[in-house]
Symmetry: C2
């Protein structure tokens, strides 16, 4: 809330050439192994922006944890637990009264998106969402290409169920998805693309 907001989301050119850009530098210094997490953080930032600007409310579901042991001797300290796979997608929320459900994935391959990135239960979950009139999509970032797309869930589900190929070619994603403009704040402005893809 204490950050500087630029009108229309435009960041002054001066900032790009400034030598004091701690935030920018942090983003550029991330190692390849952290890029997945970084994409998640950027989507969270985008969602925070939408909430703050009163445009939509999307929230990330917490990672499910399988708790094995809890020590109640000093408060409730979890001493043995394991990460579990989300049985739904990572994000959902409300936009213009519509239920919206999506998953964010970043990949390092240059030519295609491997379907192995999507657990079967996420496909099943999104099928239910679409069946009940919700909006569903994937945000797919090709890290090395620096291209990020909103891809409707219906397209991904069809591709997944045909089982003809193990990955979706980038060309097909370009043809059937929507390229997300990358900015400073919000980082990935996908909201106008929801209008374009689902509400026209």
């Amino acid at each position: 809330m204490s950050e500087i907001h630029y009108p229309g989301g435009v960041r002054p050119v001066a900032e790009f050439t400034s030598k004091t850009q701690p935030k920018k530098k942090m983003t550029m210094k991330i190692s390849p192994g952290n890029r997945g997490m970084d994409f998640e953080a950027e989507i969270n930032q985008t969602n925070d922006y939408y909430k703050e600007k009163d445009l939509a409310v999307f929230s990330k579901r917490p990672t499910p944890i399988n708790i094995v042991k809890v020590d109640y001797s000093r408060g409730a300290k979890i001493t043995e637990a394991y990460f579990e796979t989300q049985s739904t997608t990572d994000y959902n929320g409300v936009y213009k009264g519509h239920y919206v459900d999506f998953e964010a994935k970043s990949v390092h391959g240059k030519t295609s998106f491997p379907l192995a990135n999507i657990p079967r239960q996420q496909i099943e979950h999104l099928k239910y969402v679409l069946h009940h009139g919700g909006i569903g999509f994937f945000l797919i970032r090709f890290v090395t290409k620096e291209e990020t797309f909103l891809v409707p869930a219906s397209y991904v589900i069809d591709f997944y169920e045909k089982r003809e190929r193990a990955s979706i070619p980038l060309e097909d994603i370009r043809a059937n998805g929507y390229l997300i403009p990358v900015g400073y704040r919000p980082r990935y402005d996908f909201l106008p693309l929801i209008d374009e893809a689902f509400l026209k």
Copy 2:
């Protein structure tokens, strides 16, 4: 999926008199201290029923956990973590294309629902939900009275923000909420009340 389904959700009378009712007995044997958890389990069962019957998709957000230490020497074992408060409500999902968001609370008092049961951030979250055209409500169970209500979030928010009383009298909940019929499966059939309260 392997359970017996009765047409129209009606359970044959024979079952009520049968002496082999392991599930029913388990429900009746719960200790008072477990009733809160039991209500959650019953709402989860109701949601499972709605999903299976192709009526709606509601899911429980996992409890957020603050992870302090992870031991990577043998897989990823969490060795120190703590429970956190949900910054949203516990449940959300999609019904007839609408975004639906709700919280389930059971109370042991006989005459009122203490607002201390609702963290401030849940009120804020529900205000955002309503503002963006979503449907929001509380499922409130008076355990000793065996009465369970769907109470629209708008009513609870108004009561909360007036700050005149620390709890909502049961009489007011009866007058402004919707009594949920209790059955076998689904346990709390609140879906028709969403139509009545929000979609008419």
